[in-house]
Symmetry: C2
Subunit: 341 residues, 2 copies
DNA sequence: TTTAATTCCGGCAACGTTACCGGCAACCAT
DNA sequence: ATGGTTGCCGGTAACGTTGCCGGAATTAAA
């Protein structure tokens, strides 16, 4: 039990060749039932476990998927769990690397995973990334790549995401229906697709309800509670301050909430607030915060399924694009009118 | 750029032997400076990356640490980040597996990591685990093991943890100093060492201040918000209800808070509340919740350092035991008296 | 009885790497 | 010149596994 048993040990003990043992252990064809039984019995007894390294080296497959994410916040860790579940089921191991939203780390992680000889990648791009050469290098090696959540047009690969535009739309329309008219939006970095799509939804809702867009009410800031806090303070200091805020993440919604409280304003009476992601904390704070829920776990599962499909099908699936629907959860922070019967 | 370059490719192109290339690439001794330069140049050009699989197979080391955790909540993910940071620095990759507090999964994960030929383990045991044979199997293979956070006397291995007794003590003493007298404790499962130590601290504080222990005020329940919610409701329904609650985790504190609010009681006036872990959410809810902070990130770093030390030193470090100090963070939920000058 | 088919098995090479050993020069000191 | 040292290099085996090929033994078919 000291050193793990190998095929060689079994062969020696049974006085048969390595090849026979190897075949007995998997194919089972081309091998006498009796010897097969003997091999099985002994391998059981010695607690034989095939050496993964040797196997991978031989057949040039590690059965490992490299997953690159910008961070592991609530939503992304749910997605990763979804990926994990499906991947495990299919016999894959996943290696998760966080880029911490940093472009440099993203490149480094890609390199590392490539060195580890993963069989392919499932990627959510960092908000900082403007170049995508490191990902293209993966594709040059003919390794399958799937992009999820944070997709980008600069990378042609199968993708899964939620309908962010729809999410932005329902959040904004809900605020309008509640009677809010000067609706501000706290968006993320300017080059982040996810953020822009949600903003598009916001703009569409305004247009549909004939509310004029006010550039002063559109604020880009970092994806971060503190930045959102200060941005909100500035918004509230305007002469004609907004009467509602839609933030494209719950982290930012929390920052906004703190700023609103700091100013002594009440939600939903003085000001409405809707976030995005439906993190558990939104239901715990006072007042509870309305938020757009997304099927994160499911999205992860779909990403992994898509990956496996891509891996097996030689055909080009680069233009496969799955889109899941978000859902608005209404809570106290935006519920100004009594609930209709 | 299709297939990764190997040592063989370099050797062929330079008309020298594999061995020479191999030596040139690392030892640098026993090889002519000129050939070395040539090898380096070509390896750069071909973008040569040593094949980790072959390397590991050869030298029977994967430079990988298996990390087993019961879950990835706020505290544990911080610890894992600490582990990761130190491990990476030392040239190790970490593979993290969650057991979801399940004994079966823990065994499965151990097996999986063992199959992946990790060089050793850093473990925080699941709350469900009562047997530790699967961990002992690791030690039989002479692989280094370090236990962190959730330690257990049933496993002799170097360990890192915080002083849970101290944590329970300061939390309870703080409540006593604020004037609370009937202090209940919401503890975790009965066999969980961490929980019991915190309870011991609670008991010590009572004893020091000559408050009689009341078994009715000691409640064991699952490590979980919902259970804590219902347990608190029951506590509050007592004829002589407690005037303060100490929960051994913040998750449980949140559950308790919801129950207290549900009953229409005020914090800190009617009832005091102190949690454990200092999760960010404790400062966001209303009222904000006092909590015992632990140096999680640091603890993870220490665990990894201890692992590396254990790996290198042949000497028996099994009785090395590091203990870090927790710190009480006082917030609204327990601040009944005005702050002293 | 010969031929053909079937069943079962062992040998060899290969995946990419390094450890070890031995050998050929060239140099130095005797 | 002899012997010993040093610098540099190549060959071989090994890590644990599997794929391919060929061959022996047995059975079936002609």
């Amino acid at each position: 039990m000291e050193k793990p048993a190998t095929i060689k040990d079994i062969a020696k003990r049974l006085n048969i060749s390595l090849s026979t043992v190897s075949r007995a252990l998997r194919n089972a064809s081309d091998v006498n039932p009796d010897t097969k039984k003997a091999v099985m019995a002994l391998s059981e007894e010695l607690n034989y476990q095939p050496n993964k390294l040797a196997l991978s080296l031989r057949q040039k497959q590690t059965h490992t998927i490299g997953v690159i994410v910008p961070n592991l916040d609530y939503v992304l860790s749910l997605m990763v769990r979804g990926i994990d579940e499906v991947a495990l089921e299919a016999g894959f191991t996943v290696m998760v690397c966080q880029s911490n939203e940093s472009f440099g780390r993203e490149i480094l992680n890609t390199r590392r995973l490539l060195e580890s000889l993963v069989d392919g990648f499932i990627i959510s791009v960092s908000s900082e990334s403007k170049s995508f050469d490191h990902f293209k290098k993966i594709q040059e090696r003919n390794l399958p790549v799937v992009v999820f959540d944070r997709v980008t047009p600069h990378l042609t690969a199968p993708s899964v995401r939620i309908d962010n535009e729809e999410g932005g739309f329902v959040a904004t329309e809900h605020l309008i229906e509640q009677g809010y008219r000067r609706i501000a939006v706290l968006a993320g970095p300017e080059n982040l697709g996810v953020s822009n799509s949600r903003m598009d939804g916001y703009l569409n809702a305004l247009k549909k309800h004939k509310i004029k867009k006010d550039p002063a009410l559109i604020v880009h800031c970092d994806f971060n509670q503190d930045y959102a806090y200060f941005a909100t303070l500035e918004l509230l200091a305007m002469k004609k301050r907004p009467d509602a805020i839609f933030t494209i993440s719950d982290r930012m919604a929390i920052g906004a909430m703190l700023a609103i409280k700091k100013k002594g304003l009440r939600m939903p009476e003085d000001i409405g607030l809707v976030g995005f992601n439906n993190e558990p904390v939104t239901s715990l704070v006072t007042p509870s915060i309305s938020s757009v829920d997304m099927p994160s776990f499911e999205l992860g599962k779909v990403a992994a399924k898509l990956f496996i499909e891509t891996m097996h099908n030689k055909e080009n699936m680069d233009h496969e694009e799955k889109v899941l629907k978000p859902k608005l959860i209404i809570r106290e922070s935006s519920q100004k009118l009594p609930i209709k019967k």
